[in-house]
Structures are given as structure tokens and as C-alpha cells.
Symmetry: C2
Subunit: 376 residues, 2 copies
């Protein structure tokens, strides 16, 4: 293998695949990045057991071939190379010779025969959606997924595709986020449905590496794997096995709430952040509570800490329905408010014991549900 490429393209390529480089020592080859030079392109691949990322960049191929370089080191080194043309050549020993300006490096590599080939996907459904829409869906849903690996189901994002509709759902059992969007289905059998649980980490990773553009993100779903594709990036992910909890019964009918509060998203977020500060250093979750009370178009936010003091905030809101009050974990509220770009939201409440629902005023495709905390 021997090729010339621009430093900037190479940085883009290695950074794109970097999150799939394994940090575990169990299989050393997975700490590498697989490079394949052919047809004036360089295909970079990295994979751990969860996710595989492939990225293709333009290079000037002098001799086709392949090689595996140590991932972390290669990423850091490439970032520090001088701008301009970089010349890379695999050596007789396993490894790469990198030349730039008057300088030269030799990097020890791995035998590329050991690098695992990527799984075949049993294609069930194919389609696409704009990349920027995907990014927003993931931003708004990933927040409600759990990080607790001992309950793997809750670390996943349920992705349900039916016809031209895609739904993403996450929950950690204290809150639930649901977002629905149109999907451009291009399956051979358009009636195909799919319901899979994708690690939320993968969803975030895909959303991170794709540009914020209206270009399509192609998605191919199978029973064992799921695949995301842009013109130059492919991400394979394993699925989480199991039966996702039924969300349709949990989400109440918004039209049946007894109090609907319309409030400015940013003002509410700032007030909750202040109220939450009082209790920030406490490790016990129950102390990060804020109480919302609404009456006469005034929303009151109260929290107090025996040690630090107390806070009482008031915001002008628009209330439809009955005055009420409810206690939430402030962090769950802040996560939702940060994920909504729209200026105003609704908070739909039905007494202090039923879940609260947060929605944007302009857009009803997103629902964020929080279980209240009982007053003790």
C-alpha cells in the first residue's frame, strides 16, 4: 500500500472512525484502524464489539493494498502533522512509513489478516431521512436513556419504523422521550415494519459524525444488525436483545390533562437551573427536587436546602385549566428543556401524582414525560 493524501482529509477520516477504536485490551487488533487503499480512495475502518465505523476519503493511490495501524496513536499523530501532502507507505515489516516535508516516521502495525470482516446484514427494511432531522431526533431522545449497563434494555433507543413513519423512544423508567418523524421508505416491500433496540451510544455517535445537512441518512435494518450510511460513512451497530416496555400505555392522552401551562423554554430552564444549584452537591437524588406551582398565570418554582438556603422564582405563564402543583427531579426537567430549541413549551399536568408531559408549542412530534415525586 502506498498513497499520498492531504493532512486535513486524513484527520477527518481518522477522527470519524475514532470512536469505534476499542479501548479494551482483550483483542489488541481492535485497537487498530484498518486502512485499505484502492481506486484512488482510502477506506478506514474501526470496530469494537458494539459498533463499526467505516469512512472513505479521496487519496492518490500509488500502490493498492491494506494495513492496520494502532488507532489512538495514529489519530494523535495525524492531528499533529504539518498541513500539506502526507505520503504513507506500508513497510516490509508490519507497519507504515509516513513522510512529510523533510521528515519521516515508522509506525509499528498489526497483521491486517487478523482484522475482523464486517458482518453481513439480513436486510429487512431500507429508507432514509435528512441528516439534520436524525440529529435532532437523537438529541431529543438520547437524554432519557439510562447509562446503567446492568439494565441493558433501558440503555437502548427503541426504533420503530412503519411505512413512512419512524419513532424513537427512550426511557430510564423515571422519564420517557418519544419523537416521531417522516421516513422515506425505499424497501422492496413497503409494508415492512421493524422494531429494534439500538444502543443509545451508537445513536449519539452516528449523530455526532454526520454533518448537519439535509442530505439523506440511509438506514438499513435487519434482525441482527442495523446500518447507517451517508455518501462516505457507514456505521454498523449490534442490536440490544429483549422486549422493550410498551410505551403506548404509559403516554397519557394530552387532550385529557387538567392543567396546561404555556411557558418560555429558556426562562424556565434558567429558573430551574438556579433552583437546582441549591441541591447540586448532594449525592442523594431526592434532594434535587423542585416544586412547580401554577395559579393565576404565575408559575412558582421553589426549592430549598437546610444547609444553603431557599429559592422562590416566579414566571409569567399562560394557564389553561386548574391551578395545581407538582414536584419533579430538576435534572429530568433540565434535560428536556435543553433539548427543545423552540421558544415556548407546554407542560401538561393532571394533578400532582400523574406524569407531567413536556411538548414544544410549535411542534407536536416530540413528547417528554416525567414521573412526579410524591411530597413526603
Amino acid at each position: 500500500m502506498h498513497f499520498n493524501c492531504s493532512k486535513e482529509d486524513l484527520v477527518y477520516g481518522v477522527q470519524t472512525v475514532s470512536r469505534a477504536v476499542s479501548n479494551k485490551n482483550t483483542k489488541p487488533i481492535l485497537s487498530g484502524i484498518h486502512l485499505v487503499a484502492e481506486n484512488n480512495a482510502l477506506k478506514l475502518t474501526a470496530t469494537d464489539s458494539e459498533i463499526a465505523i467505516q469512512c472513505t476519503i479521496e487519496v492518490e493511490v500509488i500502490e493498492e493494498g491494506s494495513s492496520v495501524v494502532p488507532g489512538r496513536y495514529f489519530i494523535e499523530m495525524v492531528k499533529r502533522l504539518p498541513s500539506g501532502i502526507i505520503n504513507l507507505k506500508s513497510s516490509v515489516r508490519e507497519g507504515m512509513i509516513i513522510k512529510y516535508e523533510q521528515s519521516e516516521q515508522f509506525i509499528n502495525g498489526f497483521s491486517d489478516e487478523e482484522f475482523p470482516s464486517l458482518p453481513e446484514i439480513k436486510n429487512q427494511i431500507t429508507g432514509s431521512m435528512p441528516q439534520n432531522q436524525f440529529k435532532k431526533m437523537v438529541k431529543q431522545t438520547s437524554i432519557a436513556a439510562s447509562n446503567d449497563e446492568s439494565r441493558p434494555l433501558f440503555t437502548g433507543t427503541l426504533v420503530e419504523i412503519t411505512g413512512d413513519k419512524i419513532i424513537m423512544v427512550t426511557t430510564d423508567s423515571h422519564r420517557l422521550a418519544l419523537k416521531e418523524e417522516f421516513w422515506s421508505n425505499s424497501s422492496p416491500v413497503i409494508e415492512n415494519k421493524i422494531s429494534v433496540i439500538i444502543p443509545t451510544k451508537t445513536m449519539v455517535e452516528v449523530s455526532r459524525i454526520i454533518p448537519d445537512e439535509t442530505e439523506p441518512l440511509i438506514m438499513i435494518g435487519g434482525s441482527n444488525q442495523f446500518l447507517f450510511k451517508t455518501s462516505n460513512i457507514t456505521v454498523f451497530t449490534r442490536l440490544i436483545e429483549g422486549q422493550y416496555p410498551s410505551y403506548t400505555q404509559v403516554v397519557p392522552d394530552p387532550s385529557k390533562c387538567t392543567s396546561r401551562i404555556r411557558v418560555k423554554t429558556k426562562k424556565l430552564l434558567e429558573a430551574i437551573e438556579r433552583a437546582s444549584l441549591l441541591v447540586r452537591d448532594e449525592l442523594k437524588e431526592k434532594y434535587s427536587l423542585v416544586k412547580l406551582s401554577v395559579d393565576d398565570n404565575i408559575l412558582e418554582i421553589n426549592s430549598n436546602s437546610p444547609e444553603l438556603g431557599k429559592i422562590h422564582e416566579e414566571l409569567n405563564v399562560f394557564l389553561e385549566g386548574e391551578p395545581t402543583e407538582i414536584i419533579f427531579n430538576s435534572h429530568y426537567l433540565m434535560d428536556a428543556l435543553k433539548s427543545i430549541d423552540e421558544e415556548e413549551i407546554y407542560i401538561d399536568l393532571t394533578g400532582s401524582l400523574s406524569p407531567g408531559i413536556i411538548r414544544s408549542v410549535e411542534n407536536d412530534k416530540y413528547i417528554y414525560l416525567i414521573l412526579p415525586v410524591r411530597n413526603t
Copy 2:
């Protein structure tokens, strides 16, 4: 105490004193910020046993008085307040009532009688230098000080003032930085000299909180304390006791070096950074070695790691004197190169066993000396 002030001014005030807020639990009162409102100004003071910072901001005083608020919490809260006028009032209980927009907080405080008064300084010398010059001196000297608290002398910066000259020196015994500047002496007895060791942490802190302007930074030196002053900030610091090692014998006469290399600062830094990457993850310091060899106006930089590979860089330089080679700890080299803004430097060498000296080509007031590592 009762006053109105702008949120932005209050943020500036609390952030300025924040580094002196104690994190230790031994004396709870030192975790507080002392507020004194009088003459339409608010004076904020924080102190731990090392350093005291005082900052004055303009406020509209409604009732003069003083109070002590919990430092960390107050800082974080003030940053999150909405822009505009904030109203602060000490309450009958120890604590403060903060009002803004339609909202109100109560913060528990401390009895302000417990807050220590600042030490009297036995003035020996007074003078000033431009703030931006002080910042640059500290940037270039602080890098060679040690972080090892078990050898307190080496954690300090030696500050020597004689007539209109100020010298700062730091060393961790592997390298030494020395910078000399003019000083505007305004002592009653102009012949006064002072030689004190100031904690380098304090030097960095002062340099951080003063603006990058040509306004004077007033310095007042005493036998027990040192004081830095701008129009609205005062910093008191304790001194480190002991006899600083004599630096005059260590620094060789630059005119007696046998090889003088003139090289572009940034190009050299980038090459050393790459060479250093090879050995970055090793905990043992002796592996972060780079070898410099100069001959025929070419500077070669070599480093190698049995595990990762090897690197050979070449830079065009201008050599006066003999070809030579030398091994340095790359981190000591990088620290110096990062602290020099000028485009070109000299590296003065006298064989591979004598210290190397780094100086900027345009400015001979700065010297950075590194002990070489013997080839083993």
C-alpha cells in the same frame, strides 16, 4: 447591608476573588466571601492561608454594612442570575436575600465577625510595571517551577528587585527560567533591594486576574508579605521561607557556547510534539527523550519507542559553531517553546553534557536553561 448592582459587575467581582476561596474544611469561614458595602462600592474579599484577593466593584448602596456568603455556591448562583439589576440585602438571620425580576432567594451566611482581617504589610519596597509585561514574565517563568509540595522552595518564584530592575527565577532542578525587566521604583529609599520567594501559584493567579493592559501593576514588598495592586484589585500573598539556590553560577555565559542554533520556534515545537507523542503514554520520564543533532544547517530530531515506532524529523536551521548532539526531556523543551511568542529562537549548546540555553532571537531578557540527559 443593602445594595443594587448589575449582574455582570457582580459576576466579575466574585470570579476575581474566587481562587482565594478555601476548599478546605478546617476553617469553614474561609470558604466564604466577605462582602462590605460602603461609599457606593462593594468590596469582596476571599482568603485561604496562602493568598487573599480583594476586588471592588461599583454598586448603589442603600444601606452600608457587611456580610459573609458561602463562596462556591454564591459564585455559581450569581453566574446563573438573569442579566440586569440584582438587589442584595443582609437578613436579620445571618444570610442574604437576593432579589431579581419577580424572584427571590435566601442564602445562609456566616457571622462576618469571624472573617479574618488581612495582615499588615511591613513595606520595604514599592513600585510598578505594566500589567501585560508582568503577565508575560509569569507566563515564561512559571513553567519551570516545581509542583512538588515536599520541596516548597522549588514551587516558588524568586523575585529580586534592585533599583529599576526586576528579575524572576524559577527552577525545578532540571531546568531554570529567568526573566529580567525594567521596574518603576517608587520606594522612599530608591536603593532598597528585595529578594523574596513568592508561591508560583500566586504569580499565576495574579497574572490571570489582571487585564492584559499597559496600566501599572503596583507591587509592594515586605519581609513577611507581598502585595499586588491594580485600581480595583488587591492580592496579598504569603512568602516561602528559605534560601533560594544561587542561579548566577548555574547560568553559563552565552558568548562561550560552542554551537548556536537559530531555528523557527513554531516549526521546532511541532516537530518536538510529534517526537514526544511516541513516548507520551509511558509513565517513566526517561522515555520522553528526544535527541537533537545539528550539522550543516540541518537540525535532526529523533525519538523512538520499541513499542510504537520511531520518528526522524529534519528542520532547516542556521548553525554558528560546531556540529553537536544532545538529548533532552521533550516536555521541558515544549514548555519553553510554548512560552516564547517570538518567531525565532537560539539554542545555545556546549557539547552534549552541558546545559542547553533557549533564548528568543529578538529579546535577550529571557533565558531558559535545560539540563541534558546522558546517553545511556
